[in-house]
Assembly symmetry: C2
Homo-oligomer: 196 residues x 2
């Protein structure tokens, strides 16, 4: 019923099956590696000193929150705001609270205007001008960094140097425009229908 | 060097390893089931007769293409356009061609206006009005369905009955407004900066 030869054959068969399956499983595990690593730290966009890196994949892969459109400002009046996948859902589940690590990107663009069958001078986004980035920080992680405070990290990048955060102090550079939205954690949520 | 007992031990070890790994791999394969099934058909939003179902997850999970904003039309002048993840990338890779099965959703909303530090009467999207949906069809799949033609399926849903496509004939209900965009496959791509 069971001899050396039969045992060897069965064993070799399962051995190669096992090896192939081990490789398949490992390839799956390894492909999840970077994601798992990023989740271990506060944010993939923030280093240990609080330096904020501008996200680049938000147009294709993030949730669009809404736009603020300034009819009189053709040079930089089209403001589109995005956040990571899952943030809107977390905000709605959690009674209107942005989760720790949530990133908002406001992409400021110039405006084009077209006469269309639906109206004259219909506005659309045209050329890049700058990006504002905010990172939600529930824990006050960077008390000595003047770009962090009031529950957020604050950054500003111009289109001609898209990797360089040119803000120096959020109180001076950023907070002024957000004061009217203080009651909603400094964010103008009225323009974001996906937030309930 | 190799006897019955050793062979049996090794074999049993690999046999159970193989079984566990087979189960792991199968669980992964099975969890992909619904996705794989959807990919087998033309589109999860189109039935065998060409009836188009309105996507509902586009706000959170799809790519935002851009907005058309009508400053004079507060009741329904804010038009936000979305497409599935991956469509913009495919369009750009493929020389400006929408892939077969690509869905565009235009969400038409009323407008709110706020005086802000950045300008007066700044417009934002407010309440739902209606949705236009288009589905790219390279193969002319529904020649006898008057809601399909010129390379697309066309549908229209009002906010008070969001599951009911009220269009009857795309040539009568839809095409008129798209004629100026005929050269770009009937789509106003000028307003979609993510498309190159």
């Amino acid at each position: 019923m069971f001899n050396n030869y039969a045992a060897l054959k069965i064993c070799i068969r399962f051995k190669y099956t096992a090896m192939v399956l081990i490789l398949l499983v490992l390839s799956g595990v390894l492909s999840e590696g970077p994601k798992a690593a990023a989740e271990d730290s506060f944010s993939p966009y923030v280093d240990s000193e609080g330096k904020i890196t501008r996200p680049t994949e938000f147009r294709e892969k993030w949730t669009y929150l809404g736009s603020w459109v300034h009819p009189e400002d053709k040079k930089g009046g089209f403001h589109n705001v995005y956040t990571q996948p899952g943030v809107a859902e977390a905000y709605n589940k959690n009674g209107g609270k942005f989760p720790d690590g949530a990133v908002l990107v406001k992409e400021v663009m110039s405006e084009g205007a077209m006469d269309m069958t639906t109206g004259k001078g219909v506005l659309h986004a045209k050329d890049l001008v700058l990006w504002f980035v905010m990172v939600k920080d529930e824990k006050g992680r960077f008390p000595d960094n003047p770009k962090w405070g009031d529950g957020w990290g604050w950054a500003l990048y111009y289109a001609d140097a898209p990797s360089k955060d040119v803000s120096t102090n959020y109180k001076k550079d950023c907070l002024g425009c957000h004061i009217p939205a203080k009651q909603t954690d400094w964010i103008y949520v009225e323009g974001y229908p996906v937030l309930k």
